[in-house]
């Protein structure tokens, strides 16, 4: 098709785009490398006092030593056990309570205020009590972590149940499915995405509480290691410990992601 010469012809200007994200993979590691390089330079040149921050190479050395001496696993193993046992307990009970709150008006009316009142209670404040209630051995550590994981799990679970599309439930009822089938086959699978994303938060909190839990009579454990480093003001060890906890958090998050992709492959 041709245009008459006298007519001004102009291309339509582009005005869309933006507000979406393309992953830029190399930037993340680059930022970490830059931060670390800056710290290394700053601490070794004395521009950053060694009271303020440790030298990254020192932290790396400490981590290597920890690994080679076998102490790493001596600390990691009890912590992982505590995390596993405590978080599992808290999450299982939390999901159970959350499901009941989600399904029964009476339970909701009775327990929701209790959970709401428990949420802002700082678990470290209860440490002395936990010693009395559960002893200074593993019991109190499990209990502390479990309590920490419990409340966010409850909240995530009942919210997830509330968010299950009522249309699915109505469909189940319209086919005359028994109540238990509706719960098992419709409500629970429908709530799973919400429960799993609540799990991410519960597990992050569990890691944070690991340190509080290991305040109590723990000789080994990453939390105890970090606390000891703090009290010795040994920044290299402190950061080595924090680094391990941070990596632990990232790994757990990643594992939850895998579980999500597995169980929730039906999502778009």
């Amino acid at each position: 098709m041709q245009t008459k010469e006298s007519v001004v012809s102009k291309e339509v200007a582009f005005r869309g785009g933006g507000f979406t994200h393309k992953p830029i993979f190399f930037i993340g590691p680059l930022v970490f490398i830059c931060i670390i390089a800056l710290l290394e330079w700053g601490t070794s040149s004395g521009w950053i006092s060694d009271l303020t921050l440790p030298r990254p190479s020192g932290v790396a050395q400490t981590l290597m030593d920890l690994y080679h001496s076998g102490l790493l696993f001596q600390h990691l193993l009890p912590s992982l056990t505590r995390l596993l046992v405590g978080a599992t307990m808290g999450i299982i009970i939390g999901i159970a309570v959350g499901v009941f709150i989600g399904l029964f008006s009476l339970v909701r009316a009775g327990l929701l205020p209790v959970v709401a009142a428990l949420f802002p209670v700082p678990k470290i404040a209860l440490l002395p009590l936990f010693v009395i209630w559960f002893g200074i051995d593993e019991g109190s550590k499990y209990a502390l972590i479990a309590l920490g994981a419990f409340t966010p799990t409850v909240v995530a679970t009942y919210a997830a149940i509330d968010n299950v599309d009522r249309g699915y439930i109505r469909m189940g009822q319209s086919f005359g499915l028994p109540w238990l089938s509706i719960v098992r086959k419709i409500v629970l699978p429908g709530a799973l995405p919400g429960i799993l994303s609540g799990l991410r938060i519960s597990l992050a909190i569990s890691i944070i509480l690991l340190v509080a839990a290991e305040m109590l009579g723990a000789n080994y454990g990453i939390g105890a290691y970090v606390l000891e480093a703090g009290s010795l003001y040994d920044l290299e060890r402190l950061f080595a410990g924090v680094f391990i906890l941070s990596v632990l958090g990232v790994i757990i998050n990643w594992l939850v992601g895998i579980v999500e992709r597995r169980l929730l492959s039906w999502r778009t």
Partner: protein
């Protein structure tokens, strides 16, 4: 089995939704419910299906439902209501599992309805892989699997684009031709109503009352050849409703 809506009124809290509804749904007939948006069509269908308790009045089943019917009153929803975490096959098996049907028998029933709705090759597909039309076809297959005495359809085609709903309408007509199912069909589309309904019930604005019942005697499978006559019916219905639709559309929705 006929259904008889006996003097039903219904209100949600202070909102009167339906008033004095009397209606017969006769065997082997499709009754269409049309009316302005918010007039209580869905509510009436829920009352008929037992998903809602009427404030006053009753819905009666006249006669026993057929022996082999697993779920006499069966719904087909606008939004398909397929569980996204179950495959096509499992979505159908969901509604059969609780009735103590033997494994083999179950498999047989499901494969049969899949074949009847031409879905056999999609048995293992997940809902998210299906287009809207296919999803609604699965919902229809699921409804057929429980051998309903009456199908209750709440705007089953309105979520589909018009090309797809055109295709599905043809499917429904040929299905009825073969199986002569009974149905109560809610729609806001007068074209659908005149193509599928033996009886078209026009409801007024909220509180919904029956304004008029229009019957169409042309057999379903011949309606394509009576464009003119149907168009007249449709125009007649549209004139009945136009004013109310306009008012209903301009109504402010109370924030509460």
């Amino acid at each position: 089995m006929n259904l008889h809506v006996n003097n039903i009124s219904h209100s949600y809290g202070k909102v009167d939704v339906l008033k004095d509804i009397n209606l017969n749904i006769e065997e082997h007939q499709i009754v269409c419910l049309v009316g302005p948006s918010g007039c209580g069509k869905s509510t009436l269908l829920k009352l008929i299906g037992g998903l809602e308790k009427p404030s006053s009045g009753k819905v009666m089943q006249l006669g026993e439902p057929p022996q082999h019917s697993i779920n006499p009153l069966t719904y087909i929803f606008q939004d398909f209501a397929l569980l996204p975490w179950r495959s096509v096959y499992d979505n159908i098996s969901l509604v059969l599992e609780d009735h103590g049907i033997a494994k083999n028998e179950l498999k047989h029933i499901i494969n049969d309805v899949l074949a009847r709705t031409k879905l056999t090759e999609f048995a293992n597909a997940m809902p998210k892989q299906l287009s809207g039309g296919m999803k609604q076809r699965v919902a229809i297959a699921r409804a057929l699997s429980v051998r309903p005495a009456v199908l209750l359809m709440d705007e089953p085609l309105s979520a589909l684009d018009s090309q797809t709903s055109e295709l599905l309408m043809d499917d429904l007509v040929s299905l009825w031709d073969r199986e002569k199912f009974t149905a109560c069909y809610v729609t806001h589309n007068l074209n659908e109503a005149v193509r599928l309904g033996h009886k078209i019930v026009v409801l007024s604005r909220r509180p919904g009352t029956i304004r008029e019942v229009v019957s169409i005697d042309i057999p379903l499978n011949e309606r394509k050849n009576h464009v003119q006559a149907l168009d007249q019916k449709q125009q007649y219905l549209w004139n009945l409703m136009r004013e109310e639709a306009l008012l209903a559309d301009k109504e402010l929705i109370n924030a509460d």
